[in-house]
Each structure stands twice: as C-alpha cells, then as structure tokens.
Point group: C3
Chain length 302, copies 3
C-alpha cells in the first residue's frame, strides 16, 4: 500500500465533495466550506448530501459510492462519524480516480471500490495539517476539511500521516444478494426521495425474469428455519410488479421492477412511493421471482 | 422558430441553474453538478430549488418562472419529470434572455415567457451530447445536465437536435384569474416557506381596492351553478384582511393582502402562516373583494 | 464610529455568506445568489443556512456568530427579518475581520462581536446601491444582496448610506448564565440537528466540575420565589451525566456534558437526541452541578 504513487505529488484536484449527516439547519457545513475556502480559495466544492440520517454509516456509504463516479476527479470528504473523538482513526485513501477522506468506520470503502480500489491509505495524524486546536466533536471542520484542501492543492497523500495497511480498514458487512431458483433474494440498499426501493441486486439478476414478477419479503437464506424454496413470502404478502424500463411502463399507482440509474434492481410505483406501499426499509430482505417460472399454474401468468 | 439566431454561436453563459424535484437526501443533484463540472469546470452553477414536490410540474414551473429573471443570463435546467423514459420529448428552448432545458411537459414555458418568449426550440436527440449510456430514469444526469453544459460553453442550440415547432410544446392550463364587480377571483398559484399565499392575480387587481378587503373561497365562475355575484363565499367562511404593503401593516396574527415581490397579489399573516389559517393550497380559488363596495351596509365598513 | 477605516477602500472580499430563514423550497435563496452573481460574477458565495426557523432572530444570530469565524474574510449577509418593509433600518457593520449586512434587529451583533467588534455602521439608504424597484417584502434580494456584492467588490462602507451610531443598534437580550455554588445555571442557546443541547455557558464553568454531574431545570435566579441554592431542580426531574470530552465517553444512550466545538458547554446523548430526552428548547434554563459537591450524602456519589 505504501506505493510510490502515494508519495508522488499529484496535480491539483478539480473539486472537493462533501457527504455528511450534518443536516442543513446549523452552520456545520458552512464551517467546512469556510475552512476549505481559506486554504484553497479557487477550489470548487460540490455538496453530495448533508442529509444522511444521523450516524447511518451504511446509508452514507451507499450515497457516496453511487455519486462519486459522476464527479470530476477530486477529493471526496465523507463524515458520518458516531465515533468522533474516540480512538477510531481518521484516514485518507488513494484510488486510481480520486482520494477519499473521512473516519475509518467503513464509510469510504464502497466509494473506493467504485473509483477503482484502494491504492494507498494513511492515518490523519500530521498536526500541521489539522486545525490548531482540534475539537473532540467536529472533525469535519478540524481534521477532514483541512486535510482535503491540502490534498486538493496537490500535497502528497503520505504527508498527511503514516501509512495504514488497507487490510486493517474497518469494513461494513456486504449487503445480502443471492440467486434462488426462480429469481433472487436481495437486501434493500437505499430508499430515495421518491420512495424508489433500490435493492443490492445487480441488473443481471432481473434481466432474465419475465415481463411480470412477484415481490415478497424473504428471510435470510442461512437463517435457522429459512426455506429458500418456499413459494410464498414470509411476511404474508406478495405483490405483482411489471418488469419494465421506467416508471411509466406500469399504470399509475402500479409497481414496476426495473434497473435503476446506478445499474441496480429497483422497485418503484408510477406516481407513487414504493417504500411506503411495500412498508420496507434499508436492510429489509425481499424476494423477486418470475411470475409462473416455478410453482404457478399456467392460467395464472400475467 | 428555426431562426438564424438559434444557429449562431452564442457567447458562453455565466451560469447554469438547476430546478428539480430531486430532494437533497440522495446524490442526484450532486451527480448533475458533477456532470456539468466535468464538461465546464469554470462554470458557476446556481441551485434554484430541489424541493419541488415530487412530480408537481405546476409548482416547478412557478418557482422557475419567478426566479430566472433575477439570475444572470445563462442556461436554466429544470427537471420535474414524471414521464421520464417514456415518449415525452426532452427539449431546449431559446429566449431573448437565456436558454431553458428540460422535459416537454409544460415546466419551462412560464419561465420562457418571463425571459421574453420562445425564439427557438429543439428536441434533445443528438447522441454525442448525451451520456454514453442514457438511463431510463435519470435524464437530469444523462440528458439535461450534459446538454446544458454544452450550451453554456457556447454551442449552437440547433446542434442539440432537430427543430421543434414551439406551437407543439406541451402547455399547462392557465391559472384562473378574473375580475368580478367588487374585486376579483383568482387561483392560489403557490404557497411559500412562510405560508404566504400567492394568487395568480396581478397587482392591478388589488390596487383599486380599499384599505380593508374580504377574502372567501370561490367557485370556478364557469362551473355549473356558480354565481359570480354571490355576496358571500361558497365555503362558509369569509375573512377580513388589511390591504397593505408588507406583513407589518397588519397587527401580529392578522391577515394582510399585498403585492408580493413578484408583482402578484398575496395573502399573508403577520408573524403567522396564511395558508394554514385559510386552509388553502395551490389551485384553491379565492375571491377578494372591497369591503363595502357592493352589498354592505355603511355601518359595516372597517 | 465614523472611523477613517470605514471610508477607505478595502480589498475585494473573498466570499459573501448568506444566512436566512428563507427555506429551500422556493427560489428566494437563488434570487439572492443571482443578484450577487450579476454584480460580482467571480465572487464565491457560501450558504451558512437557510433553515433558521421563520422569524427566529435569536437562532439566526447564534448560527451566524458561531460560523463566521471559520469563513474567509468577507461580507456576511443575514436576513431573519419579521419587520421587513416597516421602519426598521437595514444596516451594514464593519468589524476588524469582515462586514455584516442585514436588518437592524439584533441579528448581526453576536457575529460582529465574534469578528472583533463593531468598528463602523451605516444605514442602507443609498438608492444607487439597491434594486431599481425595492419590494416591500424581499429586502434580501432588493437591498441586502446588492449591497453585499458592492461591498465585496471593495466599495467603501460609507458609500452605502449615512453613518449610524453603534450605540443605537437594536440588541437582543443576553442569554442567562450564572455561576451557583455547586455549578452553574445557563440558558439553552441552540439545539442542533443531532439534538445536542448547547448552553450559553463557557467551557470554564464546566471544567472544574467532577467526572459526573447532575442536570435539572432551573428558574431564573432573579425570578420571584426562585431559590438559587435549592438542591434539586424545579421541574421535578434530575439526570446524571458523564462529564466527558466527546459523545463516546458515555455509554450508548447515556447523557454526556462536554465542551462543544464552539467552546460552550453542551449536553449530548451518545447515539441519541439530548433535546428530546431532556424535553428542552432554546431558552430553557438548566442547572448543571457537581455530583456530591454540595448537599449529597457520600454514598450517593456516582
């Protein structure tokens, strides 16, 4: 990991991006912008979101990973940091397509993978890069923003602190996705502003399914008592969905299963809110199966 | 519409503005910023709002039209697009004071009128201007943002795709406004963050009314059974309002009818929330009439 | 106040910041950005917050004062202005570390103190600096934004209008803080997005207290019937808190009293929402006292 690349000076970054759970009602985000602007007045800063639910590291990781591929090469700061001020490390990660800065709690690693994988990592302990007096509760302002500004100006990653073995970085559990005989089981990864339910499943699990599918809750296939071949869901409900390309492929108010703009399977309601209709949240397991592929009488096909 | 102006190169725009219903909790807005920043790194981007209620094209149209006159000349992107991915067209419109980019669903036309009227229109079909792979559900990122960046850099409008006859652009119904003997009837156009109730009526309908007015619900004057001369409202309530210049012209908690900062009639409560007090929403019809002008006994004048 | 400094040309500012109660759903903020961008196209604008509760001047003053020290030298516009359009003055204040622009209702003075104190003040009456037609209800767009842009470009403060005696500026009441025998009584100053309860008390009032403290409601010590030496709170509840450095110094769900990132005493819940737990709001008086310092039996020490 202490590759020579990490020590070489880089060209200045085009942008710094910010992803936090700070909300928009206080001055926290502006303080981070201010710290960056003082150090790097000409740098563009793009706000990814500041409405990650407080402390929800998984949600922050998902939004960050899905957005960074569309940003210019730069330094991406993320702060969802319930352990701020404790012994958890602050880190900066190098990738082929940009740098990531934030707490070592799993928040950054999906984004690092989306940018080509971790090529170097350091712990942010260089006191000359931090605020003169680092508060115990606001490392966005006192640690991550000034480090990001310095990296964006082209300072070498290894000047930020000592190398960290990437294998020691804290990782979140992988979301569950698995193929089952008539379709797949997958965890709900995110619910967006419109209520679209994004599953952790990639497009290739939906593509082979027929024009109509069924959706039902599922149990963890490895949980005690789980029956992965059970024809009906565990939650007592099962809904039919159109297998389409976009919301308008289903009638208004109807459910559509499609591949979303990130390449993942999603469930949406045309003109409605799928997460409310299905009463699901991130982490809920759902089974999506072809209508009639297994266990249906022919007359039931849609 | 295929005026020579549309084909001539233009000077680079000073800004791109963004108006959407994307919300602020996901990375959608940042992805649009990122696409623009990759193509036009020096361009200023101004967010108008991303909190248009999901799918509310009328609300998006009103916010956009009321804001663009105050922005520098530029390219204004708006995306409130329940028909994304269906056969609805994506368009760019030329006006004397800027360009508008978004879906052809009526969202852009009030803003076009505010900028001097449509002088040219094209359908956004040039594949070299779009994302390499256009998703079915995120045309803000894959169609409208890259088109806006290219137009902002000075590319000719007609390079974005074939000309569209402006007469074929989808239009929203005009909000209802009509003069009645003792005042006017008008539709609620917007309710803002403070609860101010903006009517579609222009200032000149309020100006001649006396220092106190009465407000009541109204029926569509052309609806069956509507009686446009009925002295009282149809909803069973009638409220008195001060005809003033600003909130403070009425006592705290009292209703004031005034001309708002866009030149339209508005109803506000000093220190309160007029839309909650009146229980009205966009689309509600209200009658505003002079106190005592018609049908009042002299002793009732305020 | 009419110091020579106020008349001298200044170098251009690096930023304009905006703090308002305009919300994010309308185009009000964008209109201010647009006015600034038209006058000063290269100027960076930083949004502090636009979610000050409508008309809450105290909250606006607190956010502004706590954020401006972290912004680059510049012109800070704040608009929480229930008296817009009435006889209240619009003012610009000079300080050693930046300029402040907004209504004369107390909103700016804590920030002025944080920037080194008021060195000059003017009333914003120069019509050539304002919008051609100033609305009665949107001085952010028509008065404060254009004045800020001109000041940011380096125009002298005194060109904005006639000098104002700083002693005549409207002031908010000081929040209550007082030392009591076993600790201190202080007003809740703000509640942030995470539910952290910030007290008006400075760090030096918490520092001498032991490793565990007790928190209870208090009455204004000068109120009739108030007993400042009462061993228990007036509200019927008393809670124990860890006296720590950061959230993680208390177990998950437990209360911690610490010095926050602004140097004030704050009460937080590790992984929770302290303001909800304690049922307090800005303005609530709390007593924080050392556990066992006064009036406790030895066996009760935590």
């Amino acid at each position: 990991m202490t590759s020579s690349a990490a020590r070489e000076p880089r060209p200045p970054a085009e942008v710094v991006s910010l992803t936090t759970d700070y909300g928009l009602a206080d001055g926290f985000v502006a303080a981070c912008h201010g710290v960056i602007a003082r150090l790097a007045p000409a740098l563009r800063v793009i706000d990814v979101t500041h409405l990650v639910p407080p402390g929800d590291v998984r949600r922050g990781a998902a939004v960050l990973a899905q957005t960074v591929p569309h940003l210019p090469p730069g330094v991406h700061v993320a702060v969802v940091d319930p352990g701020v001020g404790t012994s958890r490390r602050g880190v900066a990660l190098g990738t082929p397509e940009g740098l990531l800065v934030g707490p070592d709690n799993g928040l950054l690693l999906d984004a690092a993978a989306a940018l080509g994988g971790v090529t170097g990592a350091v712990e942010l302990t260089n006191p000359r890069w931090l605020a003169p007096r680092v508060s115990a509760t606001f490392h966005g302002r006192d640690v991550f923003a000034p480090v990001a500004a310095r990296l964006a100006l082209g300072a070498p990653l290894t000047d930020a602190g000592p190398a960290v073995d990437p294998a020691t970085l804290v990782r979140l559990p992988e979301p569950l996705v698995r193929r089952v005989p008539d379709g797949f089981v997958a965890e709900v990864l995110t619910v967006d502003h419109f209520g679209n339910v994004q599953l952790a499943a990639p497009a290739e699990l939906l593509d082979p399914l027929p024009a109509r599918v069924r959706v039902c809750p599922a149990t963890e296939p490895t949980a005690p008592g789980a029956d992965e071949d059970a024809p009906a869901g565990v939650g007592g409900w099962e809904r039919e969905a159109v297998h389409g390309r976009t919301f308008g492929d289903a009638p208004v108010g109807a459910l559509v299963a499609h591949v979303d703009s990130t390449g993942r399977v999603a469930l949406s309601v045309n003109g409605g809110h799928a997460a409310e209709l299905l009463a699901v949240d991130p982490g809920t397991l759902l089974r999506v199966r072809g209508y009639g592929v297994v266990g249906d009488a022919p007359g039931q096909h849609g």
